[in-house]
Symmetry: C2
Subunit: 114 residues, 2 copies
């Protein structure tokens, strides 16, 4: 599996997207990340999702005593972002082309009315 395969696959799960959303507010421990899911998901389940996110290069951790706070990983997120930027640019270019075609059709129509 390439990095992009793993990264996009990791985002296909709503719990993992919720974890990343929480990390946009800053570093958090597993316990803090598990809080919003209390009653619906166990801490080991959250740890498993974190493992998937770390292996996909979207989250990194550091050691602080007994804690291992997690944060977003710029490199992995940038890689996905750049890939999607390619699609976004193509869509913008297509729209520009469409505008041109429509403008030409419009001027032809006006021409034929003369």
């Amino acid at each position: 599996m390439t990095t992009l395969d793993a990264a996009f696959s990791a985002l296909a799960d709503p719990t993992r997207r919720a974890i990343l959303h929480r990390l946009t507010r800053g570093e958090a421990t597993v316990m803090e990340l598990a809080e919003p899911f209390a009653g619906t998901m166990t801490q080991p389940a959250i740890s498993q999702h974190l493992k998937v996110l770390e292996e996909a290069g979207l989250v990194v951790s550091r050691v602080e005593g007994a804690k291992r706070p997690r944060r977003l990983s710029k490199d992995g997120i940038d890689a996905m972002d750049q890939w999607l930027a390619m699609l976004r640019k193509a869509l913008e270019a297509n729209y520009d082309r469409l505008d041109k075609v429509l403008a030409e059709m419009e001027s032809t129509k006006k021409g034929s009315r003369k």
Copy 2:
């Protein structure tokens, strides 16, 4: 499965990303999309990948006689893009914060040297 689940899941496959990449150059039929994979993948296999991309809202088709040319779907791509923009903005904000912290550490160091 939500739309974002399906969209990110669809991107987790290199063949589907290659199909989207090809569509950045404009509309294409299944036959045209299958060309670069000749010998490695059958046309039905490509059709199956297209079905996944269409169900995920990333590709749309139109009818032109017996052909059904496919093109990128702005709405589905925009939805993913907006979700990733949230992560990107958070990373930028975090970097700005880090810059401030480092600048403060630096000025404290200079202060203690006096």
